[in-house]
Amino acid sequence: MKIDWAALGSVFGVSLVVTVALVALFTLGIAGLARRERAAEQGGSAAAAVTGAYACFAACAAAVGYGIYLIVA
């Protein structure tokens, strides 16, 4: 019986890293937008935070796009 431990290990590693990275990026994006909300309440702006937030969301969208590519290919 040959168990492909290498494949299982890489599935584990990749899943863990990708999931945590994606969720981290997305949460940072949300935090950035929330900062704009707070800044707006106080009459200020938070341009850097918002730019960062959109960069985070763009990365997440790219990941989703890659996921669709994997499904279709």
Partner: protein, 421 residues
């Protein structure tokens, strides 16, 4: 299509019925977290999942081809064997739906095939080591991999997002995130599971001589399989959705997002890296992981234990029914007719029993009749078999009479189809 024998027609119809139960059963995988956290309204969620399943069915025929070309020796397989396998798989899917437990449709199908093959060709025809590496090990690995990833992701999203909590951005953001990841899971499901059925129908058509070996699935097969799985998905296995979204743990949007992202990642990574993990097992694992990842989050291990037991039983139970069905079809046409009649009758019976306590889009988000942690109520026993006989019998004596009659009917049908064939 010209030489379309009766048995072939029966196999095609049964395969589509299996496809339907498959969609029905697996709606929960994609949409349970989205529905329970309120990111999408139940009906909208299942409609979206159904549409993506349909789209997924048309995207490629690669999975279908691995099943219909070369995996099984096409010369040696008869349509009756496929029919028997499907009967086993359908009955197991319906039973687990009745008790509201998520279990892998693929395992049910594999179990049915193994049982039917044993009955027709002997035990030697099944490869034990393949069984371990392709079925048992993934079933253990999937929930652990997905669960660990979801747990860390949940912790992280709570600590990173602390400042954003309660803001509009966070509410909208987690909603969008959940919808996107649930959509990915639906699409992946359509390409995988609808195609399994296409592969099986094509295999039967090849075995029955209706299409040439090594051909791609005919267009009507793709179309009907896609529609069957989409319809099943749209009708929604609300019982299973409730168990996954509410029964295992209480999910907040952050957790739903982390769980669904982890599930989508695990499913895609595993199929891409060549160590296929079951969608159902991954999603269940990630939901539990998300439950563990939140401070004060609780996983209801009694529900989880029932689910694990169902996973363990999936293969042997479907195999047993498949084997018996194959044995009966061996008696000739009337045997096949008998099995078909039995399938219809028991499906109708299961549906009838399910009407005693209806779960649909209106009450899917009501918590299972169960108090948080520790308090085992007798009402739970009415929905599903008790986790341990001891715990419930204690409760029954404590709460007396009224509900006592309720728990009896649900375990009973679980026994009957296997024994009364």
């Amino acid at each position: 299509m010209e030489s379309f024998s009766l048995i072939l027609a029966i196999v095609v119809v049964t395969a589509l019925a299996f496809d339907f139960t498959n969609g029905f059963h697996d709606t929960a995988n994609a949409m349970a977290t989205t529905i329970s956290t309120g990111a999408l309204k139940p009906k909208v969620a299942v409609a979206m999942s159904a549409a993506l399943n349909l789209v997924g069915a048309f995207l490629s025929v690669e999975v279908a081809n691995t099943i219909s070309k070369g995996l099984v020796d096409e010369a040696g397989i008869r349509p009756e064997v496929i029919f028997a396998a499907l009967v086993g798989a359908i009955l197991w899917n319906l039973l687990t739906w009745l008790v509201g437990l998520p279990s892998s449709s693929s395992h049910a199908l594999m179990g049915g095939l193994i049982g039917a093959t044993i009955a027709s060709a002997g035990v030697g025809a099944v490869h034990g080591d393949v069984l371990v590496t392709k079925v048992l090990l993934p079933a253990v690995a999937a929930p652990i991999v997905a669960g660990v990833a979801a747990m860390f992701a949940t912790r992280l999203t709570y600590s990173f997002g602390k400042k954003a909590e309660g803001s509009k951005a966070s509410e909208k953001g987690y909603r969008a995130g959940q919808i996107a990841s649930a959509g990915l899971v639906s699409l992946a499901h359509g390409t995988n599971d609808a195609q399994k059925t296409m592969g099986i129908i094509t295999l039967a058509l090849v075995a029955g001589g209706a299409v040439a070996p090594d051909s791609d699935p005919p267009v009507w097969v793709i179309l009907s399989a896609g529609l069957a799985i989409a319809l099943g998905t749209y009708l929604g296995g609300w019982r299973i959705i409730r168990t996954m979204g509410k029964g295992l743990t209480d999910l907040q949007p952050q957790q739903g997002f982390a769980a669904q992202t982890s599930a989508a990642t695990v499913i895609l990574a595993s199929s891409h890296l060549g160590f296929s993990l079951s969608t159902t097992h991954s999603v269940s694992g990630s939901v539990m992981g998300a439950g563990l990842g939140r401070k004060g989050g609780v996983v209801r291990w009694s529900t989880a234990t029932r689910m694990f037991v169902a996973w363990g039983l999936t293969l042997p139970a479907a195999a047993l029914v498949g084997a018996i069905a194959e044995w009966v079809t061996g008696f000739g046409s009337w045997g096949t007719g008998l099995v078909a009649a039995f399938l219809v009758a028991s499906s109708a019976a299961i549906w009838k029993i399910s009407r005693r306590e209806v779960v649909d889009h209106t009450n899917v988000n009501e918590p299972e009749p169960e108090e948080p942690a520790g308090v085992v109520t007798t009402a739970v026993a009415a929905v599903a078999p008790p986790p341990t006989a001891g715990a419930v019998s204690e409760d029954l004596t404590a709460t007396i009479a009224a509900p006592v009659t309720e728990p009896a009917p649900s375990p009973a049908p679980a026994a009957s189809p296997a024994t009364t064939v």
